[in-house]
Amino acid sequence: MTRRPYVTLVIILLLMGLALWVDLSKQISIFNPINNTPIVNRNVDLQLGLDLRGGLQVLLEADLPTNSTVSSADLATTQKILQNRVNGLGVSEVLMQSAPPNRIVAEFPGLQDPQQVVAALQETGLLEFVDFGDAPPGVGTEIQTDFGTAGAGPNGIVTPSPTGTATATSVPTNTAVSTPTSAATPEATSAATPAPTATAVPTTSTIYHTVMTGSALASVNVQTGQAAGTASGFVIAFTLKSDWSSVFADYTGANVGKILGIVLDKKVISTPSINSKIDKGQGIIEGNFTQDSANELAINLRYGSLPIPVKVVESQSVGATLGAESVQRSLIAGIIGLLAVILFMVIYYRLPGFVADLALIIYALISLMLFKLIPVVLSLPGIAGFILSIGMAVDANILIFERLKEELRAGRTLRQAIDLGWARAWLSIRDANISTLITCLILFIFGNTFGASIVKGFSVTLAIGVLVSLFTAIIVTRTFLHIVLDNVKFTEHPRWFGITEESR
């Protein structure tokens, strides 16, 4: 491996350069020189956890009877929908993790207002019944509606005006006065969500009219076609709240044969046509439903988008001041600790100690690069785990140097001593580090299962530290030592290696 130490040195220096580049940048971009399109364009800003930046942690749990089970697919879908929903809050780096069997942990670094987040998380998705006329857009299309726009009534619904002038002229005055509170959130959601998903979902520029929203529904359930007296298969029966039944009766009466689209968070999920006037506030949705697809639509109608209803079981807000104080101090403490260790290594192990210090610096640079690239959200225990892994990185070097000394005392040449010392130390380094990695893995699983992000963060940084330290101990220290020995004559300077004439 180190037959050609200078080749390895070049690779190490390249890696170090890459690490420095990533460590010092907030954003890395690589462009294809031919057509100038970005190949890599990533935000590599160091992500600080809740405890360091301050913010809010919310633990959500499926709101179901205790004996029912939650499928992991449902939990994953719920998490994805919640993620989209909170993206509308304009909080960056929201960390959301599902914690099986029935929990989701959400972290909002830098957020001050817990009420706003909890409300956004618990609110069901925006379900709209939209007038598509004769030409409905395809299922899955993202559309725009007039719900909650200027000119809407107190419930967010726009009353169609024959001239259309009301909407056009009243924009400057009306937005401020008439936008009701219920419309504020949907507006925010629709403004923020298209950005990340815009490329994947077809969109239309038409603004459709919203007839009513999910809040008009009193109850929704799945029936067999026979029970409903219509056709075979399954149908969805719904009941409207009393104050909506006349509005709906008027609308359906005037639009028989037209399409009434069901739209969830501005995305079309179903496009049934109106067969007859629905005048008693009760109706059914027919289609070629299987039991599963009928259930799915019914769940969407009932809970908005969430396949499983969730409740907030724990919310923890961390003051940013506490975090900022701790970060500052712990950072200084870490630097003091590192300097003390560097000094100790040079004083005790002389030249090899200096070489190990260089390796240690490369170790720190590479670890930081990995934290930024993966990315690892750094928390206080995470930093503690990193500092502990520095100790283990030093340990690997100490093991090698103690062996090196022994071999030198036994009268071997320096080159032999390095190879032998390294080979003998390797076994203990390997076994010791594998056992640490085993502990990390179990910690990680524990942290993941119970949503204990503290434990998880600690195990991740410790594991990365152990892996990188293996690399620096095996490759970097050894290569550096070989290069040093090409230029230093050990027999002339035994003291540089901490060997006195007497002890030889």
């Binding site: 101090r329 712990s330 093991l399 076994l427 580090n433 056992s435 502990t439």
Partner: protein
């Protein structure tokens, strides 16, 4: 240097720490924090730099306590010079607002009272975390035992190395738990998820340390095949002594820097780690290796027999 000769002295030193620790665990129990028991943690900062006394905070809490949220008799701890950490039975946001308003009104001295941290943990979460942690520790011990057994499979009685390493690990876990109970009783420290992290780290470190010493024994047993096992073990421990002490020094240097200059919120965590790391090094040199010797000589057959001297 014959270190192994005094093995029963080392065992005695360990027991001298562990037995009081176990007694503390039995009598005072572990001071479980709200991570485990459920409840509310409120941390408030007084810009005046002059927070109310513990008795004053208690009277505020006792006054606001209601049948729905019985927050009377909270545990109050100072945080630095201007902040308080107050633990109580669970309360809701409205009750918290009442508490903070009362503190603002009575003890702010005209300056701001800010909430640094407000945590709600339901007891159910706590129980699951505890159970999960216990399972994690058990699994980790088992996995490490199996790994060592595998890594030392070419040595005679390889399983003994695994068992000895796990005993040393249990030793360190007991030291940490016992010290936790003692510090909890006298200084009011609470066992939280950070304590759990520290405990699990100590277990990892302990095994790390033990394996390095065992690795030497493994190597030396192959070189000195005809030498008495006890002497091989002693030779190995002495050979690795420099490394053990130096490694411990570097880890303790960084931890000490964190304890002295690091943030208040991780100080207990770091101190528990310091205790555990020290115990980890001690147990790998003075417990794990001597246990191998005791086992090899089957010395327990002589424990209750009258005899003039130890070999």
């Amino acid at each position: 240097m014959n270190l192994i000769k005094y093995r029963y002295l080392y065992f005695a030193i360990s027991l001298l720490v562990i037995i009081p620790g176990i007694l503390a665990l039995i009598i005072w129990k572990l001071p479980l924090g709200i991570d485990f028991t459920g409840g509310s943690l409120l941390e408030v900062k007084f810009a005046s730099g002059n927070p109310p006394t513990i008795a004053q905070v208690e009277s505020v809490y006792n006054g606001i306590s209601s049948p729905a949220f019985k927050i009377a008799n909270p545990l109050v701890q100072p945080l630095g010079t201007d902040s308080l950490s107050i633990r109580s039975e669970a309360m809701d946001d409205a009750t918290k607002a009442k508490v903070v308003a009362a503190l603002q009104q009575q003890y702010s001295e005209g300056k701001d009272v800010t909430i640094l941290n407000f945590t709600q943990v339901s007891a159910a979460v706590g129980q699951e975390v505890t159970r999960g942690a216990a399972i994690a520790v058990g699994l980790a011990s088992l996995a490490i035992l199996i790994y060592i057994w595998f890594a030392f499979r070419k040595v005679k009685n390889a399983y003994r190395f695994g068992v000895a390493a796990v005993i040393a690990t249990v030793h360190d876990a007991l030291v940490v738990l016992g010290i936790g109970a003692i510090l909890g009783h006298f200084l009011g420290w609470q066992v939280d998820s950070l304590f759990l992290t520290a405990l699990l780290t100590v277990i990892g470190f302990s095994v790390h340390d033990t394996i390095v010493v065992f690795d030497r024994i493994r190597e030396n047993s192959n070189i000195y095949r005809r030498v008495e096992f006890e002497k091989v073990v002693n030779h190995s421990v002495v050979q690795t002594l420099d490394r053990s002490i130096n490694t411990q020094l570097t880890v303790m240097i960084t931890l000490l820097a964190l304890a002295l200059f690091g943030g208040q919120s991780i100080r207990h965590f770091v101190i528990i780690l310091l205790v555990g790391v020290f115990s980890g090094t001690f147990s790998s040199i003075f417990n794990a290796s001597p246990i191998l010797v005791v086992w090899e000589n089957k010395e327990w057959r002589n424990w209750f027999r009258r005899k003039p001297e130890t070999v």
